[in-house]
Point group: C2
């Protein structure tokens, strides 16, 4: 396959992904779900969690960190709540299954909670709440990184000067016409991924986002990425709020499950833990009524005059919706280096592009 | 009853509250629940939501804004989710009942969601998650103010220059020994109550918390309280996160219910709407296992060296716990003016203190 100009179409990228991930040993439906969500993140402009991760995922399969084909296993189930073992299948694959389980349970019970353990990297947390919203439900999600095997807990608790928390994201999606109200944030003042980009390009982190090992403000990402000092929780002078939200994300995703796997059972692997909540408007007031209320509410919020007339008030997820439309039409931007990396990853599992 | 020196004991205050609220027409168990929670907030140092509200609540009964004795009415119920009508009983009374309903439902289903409409002022949102945690469950709560009859939507959406949101709080509590991990925040950069205090004392609001009608930064609370300009969502330069969380709080508390009461049925009254989620550790891993994990986690977080050695890292709710202990021993501070106001409120319903 020849290198596309500066972009690649979503269809072409999905076809490539299917070939690569099935060659990795993923059953066809898993390869399909995985590349579908990765391409969707790229279409939305969230490049850090899109097709740029193909190479990483392939190498993690080869090193045994990821075990394609592993089913989602229910550890415990009690009414509308379940704890599931993701068994180190691709994070996206088994977390999508967990989101679907949350939808089924909220279909029965009006509300549900599914907590996942031993998950490989879940990628963009918004993926899963978006999926819940597409089933007509409100999705709320929390995630954290490995607890017993904490590899990188680089975010300081409020007032502290060492990392104790991961960047613990919180996301939600509300069904709304053909695109949800979609919100996805880290509780840290800067995501680790962004720090790496800043380091690579020789830039400075935003002031008020990092501290050094003595607890003094710094804008140099390199020491923090090396494990000295820490990222501050988000919130500026109200960082105690970011801290409190980070704790909530970690408690409901990492501990409410029982955190029952020993370090040996995690085999030293990076783990994500997640907690998905689904709230079913069909059970509370009917999806149609809810949809009308959301449309009115959106108009009311967006009718607010802007501080800068060039930047009107928008709902969360609107920038991603526009990028999704543009890239669906024009293709996903891809550099020569990124394409080369994908070709090499494919070749490493016997796929010639 | 003679004016206490500078403090009043919790027992004495509860006795006074029972007499006042039963004289207002509240059945004994409602008067008891109401004053119990108000005194608890005062003991915790949250004076804005404690016994200082007695006068306001009495006058709202007299003006017909509050209807003591109104039971919690289930509007719709589907499995583990319910929407309830608080019918303008005291906000605290019927929201406590809604929290208890959430606990019962999560006892059966592992997770539950109870959404309340037509609530009088709920006061401190932490009250209800604290109650859920005392039943051994994790409580998460969201609240907003009246939607169809929006009296004071003084918080701007991100990028906007007019108020469209209320100060929409989020709270959670995690069972943990004899005092929960307890977090209670507004999604606004400054609570309205605090603005009133600043105005009264002639001070300035924190920079970055307010804008004037032209969207310029200001520290003058008076124009904002008069309805010009707005409070900014919390988060400083990441105020889009505070905005996103404010929307979530409003959507799940104010709209997921169906917001089914017409303006006439709200009779022009100030309304709170709330959404309580309860997650039951007994269903996911057992409360004892969860308790051990939380104790370990707390030690891990609190072991973080502090930036300022005089201010060690603490868990949310710890300051309130200490104040609760001190005031339980030493009494609740009360000024001559506050005492006079309580005596007059009592007299207005025929109670001589």
């Amino acid at each position: 396959m020849s290198k596309p100009a500066n972009t690649i179409s979503a269809d072409q990228m999905r076809e490539i992904g299917r070939r690569i991930f099935t060659a990795c040993g993923a059953p066809p439906e898993e390869a399909e779900a995985l590349i579908r969500e990765m391409v969707r993140s790229s279409l939305m402009g969230i490049d850090s969690h899109g097709i740029s991760s193909i190479g990483q995922y392939v190498s993690e399969v080869k090193s045994g960190m990821v075990v394609p084909g592993t089913p989602l296993r229910v550890i415990t189930e009690h009414g509308a709540l379940a704890v599931v073992d993701c068994g180190f299948n691709f994070g996206i694959v088994n977390a999508v299954r967990a989101a679907d389980m949350a939808v089924r349970k909220a279909g029965q019970s009006g509300v549900s909670c599914v907590i996942g353990e031993r998950s490989h990297h879940v990628g963009r947390l918004g993926t899963f709440v978006q999926r819940i919203s597409e089933a007509g439900q409100v999705g709320i999600a929390f995630a954290s990184s490995s607890t017993k095997y904490r590899r990188w807990g680089g975010v300081a608790p409020w007032g502290g000067r060492e990392g104790r928390l991961s960047t613990n994201p919180i996301a939600y999606a509300v069904p709304h016409g053909d695109w949800p109200i979609l919100f996805d944030m880290t509780t840290a003042s800067v995501p680790k991924q962004k720090l790496k980009v800043i380091q690579r390009t020789g830039g400075q982190a935003p002031s008020g986002s990092l501290i050094d090992a003595e607890g003094r403000d710094t804008t140099d990402p390199s020491r923090v990425l090396a494990g000295e000092g820490a990222i501050l929780p988000f919130g500026g002078s109200q960082g105690h709020k970011g801290y409190g939200l980070a704790l909530l994300a970690e408690i409901v995703s990492g501990f409410l499950s029982g955190d029952r796997f020993s370090p040996e059972e995690k085999e030293g692997r990076y783990c994500n833990a997640f907690c998905f909540l689904a709230l079913n408007p069909e059970a509370s007031c009917g999806l149609e009524v809810f949809g009308t209320l959301m449309a009115d509410y959106r108009r009311y919020i967006e009718s607010c005059p802007a501080r800068d007339p060039a930047r009107p008030v928008i709902m969360p997820g609107e920038i991603e919706r526009r990028t999704y439309q543009e890239r669906s039409r024009d293709g996903i931007p891809i550099t020569r280096e990124e394409w080369k990396h994908i070709v090499e990853s494919a070749r490493s599992v016997g796929v010639e592009l």
